[in-house]
Symmetry: C2
Subunit: 333 residues, 2 copies
């Protein structure tokens, strides 16, 4: 039998195959062969990208846009939005658009082409997360910008057009509708129940335990009740906080531990599967939505999204989150 | 520069690359090699599927579930929902689900494994559309069912797990949230402007012409202003009508002409690209939403959907619909 589960925040439905569930060995994923060829993100090719906007250079004597960096942030050469475009609302017959003001930046995660998020030293990931937070806050300070999206695509079928490990940051003048749906869902839940649905979820999931993957002082990782993707895992701060940009102090170390822990499990259990990581945070439009709870969603892409998802917003997930959480807990120890 | 265009119905945003637009030759798609191997949809393998629920058998002396059919509809052996499940609302801690009642059927489009939607005789596609309409109405008559989704996936990267040409019909007890968003968007537009947004779109697009691909007595094909995918094309009935299930008489011939016309252009222009076809129709929950306007969306999948789409609902489309419509008009013409 299947259960058509409802996401308590967005109201979206997911069809979960409770019978004939797929376990990790049913997803016979093999890491795709290395493409090789020229890489604009490797040492020595710094001139192939626009000039860096930030870099971690342990040796302070190295020049910008030359080797010596450990992490490097550059504008996306092919970015769909640009920071120097004047923001304008335009009419076009019965339609309307706004000009593509915004920033599209690439965070080159490491100079090592073959490294992965799971393979770095924790200190390196700490630095990576701090630099991403700083760019998040910097891009969010543009008063024309309403939303800053931080994400990582890994693997060609997850949308990563380049192999070299990287993250992306895109800022836009509008709040995207999916984000708005999540914000409204959270607000509605808050008004109805007097509590943040994410806080409630954390409390209930920790009590129940069946969908918990990991926990440390500041964060919890769980496979959500209405998981859209097999082995989908969310990392949530235990303490209510609406903004990724406010991440600070000891939280970085704990987030690194949690994020690398999950990604290592995926790398090990599924031979470096394609995945997306998406940071969900309060918009930077100046409205402080107290009720919102920032978090990170890790979305393994072990199956092609089919049209049933596209046409209706229903996802079909062959792996119940209870089995996903159990399997993930076992991988690597 | 890019334009962040707004869909007048759903309010969704699409980033359209107006500069450096991609034209057909920029999508170097090659038809994937034939997989071969055993096919449960070919003649002689009828016992590999559940028994047929409908079939077109020109020779009335052939038995069900044996060769001789031209179109065959069977339950999906691996369907995520089942017609014999009792519909129940269930609580699960702070969450809820409904049991997976519904039908998942496969419409085997032709006995010819290598045929495509573009290659059939028009009379055959007429019959196909009539049979799909009949199953749509039959499945919609179950009072536990609220929505019937008709769709076709072509090509592995569009979610077609089998090569043999087929459509799918899935009925579910709930109205999916994406469908609900479209219905609400249409209703809001109707209340604000006193007119159906699709009717308005058809009128304005026919006047303007730049996004029109084809037109006949009953239908118009256009690339929508806020196209999410390169070469996305919608087929809309010119006369306002909310339900695919009411399709009748001469409309079938005209729809066949329009649908095959577009699909042939894609097959010819992009070497049989992966695509999805999704029928959008009023729910079958007994509420007659007069304001809604049924239509068909054809979504070529020339690029992998990346996480920016997943995370935010923003799509980035490198081909403006004006260029898409122009190019489609030229192909094969």
């Amino acid at each position: 039998m299947s259960e058509i589960r409802k996401d308590i925040i967005t109201g979206n439905y997911v069809v979960i195959a409770v019978e004939r569930s797929k376990r990790p060995h049913d997803f016979a994923h093999k890491r795709p062969p290395k493409k090789g060829g020229f890489c604009p993100f490797c040492y020595g090719n710094e001139q192939e990208t626009p000039p860096e906007v930030a870099a971690l250079r342990p040796d302070e004597n190295t020049e910008p846009d030359t080797p010596g960096w450990e992490i490097r942030i550059v504008p996306n050469k092919f970015g769909a939005v640009k920071p120097d475009i004047e923001l304008k609302d335009c009419k076009d017959g019965i339609y309307s658009y706004v000009t593509g003001r915004g920033a599209a930046e690439v965070v080159i995660e490491s100079p090592r082409h073959d490294s992965t998020l799971g393979s770095h030293e924790p200190e390196h990931v700490n630095n990576l997360l701090k630099m991403i937070r700083d760019r998040y806050n910097e891009l969010g300070s543009d008063e024309n910008i309403s939303y800053v999206q931080v994400f990582k695509n890994f693997g060609p079928t997850a949308g990563a057009s380049l192999e070299h490990p990287h993250w992306q940051i895109i800022s836009t003048p509008l709040i995207p509708t999916n984000v708005m749906d999540e914000l409204k869902g959270t607000e509605n839940y808050y008004r109805k129940h007097g509590t943040c649905p994410y806080c409630e979820m954390i409390e209930e999931e920790l009590k129940d335990g069946s969908r918990i993957v990991a926990e440390n002082d500041y964060f919890v990782a769980l496979c959500p009740y209405a998981s859209r993707f097999p082995f989908e895992t969310w990392i949530l701060p235990k303490e209510h906080n609406n903004c990724f940009g406010k991440l600070t102090g000891k939280e970085f170390g704990e987030l690194t531990e949690m994020l690398q822990g999950i990604v290592k499990k995926l790398e090990l259990g599924f031979d470096y599967p394609p995945y997306n990581i998406v940071v969900h945070s309060n918009p930077v439009d100046g409205v402080d939505r107290d009720y919102y709870h920032w978090h990170i969603e890790i979305l393994p892409r072990l199956a092609i999204m089919a049209v049933f998802e596209l046409g209706t917003g229903y996802h079909i997930n062959p792996t119940p989150p209870e089995i996903a959480a159990d399997s993930l807990k076992e991988i690597g120890g």
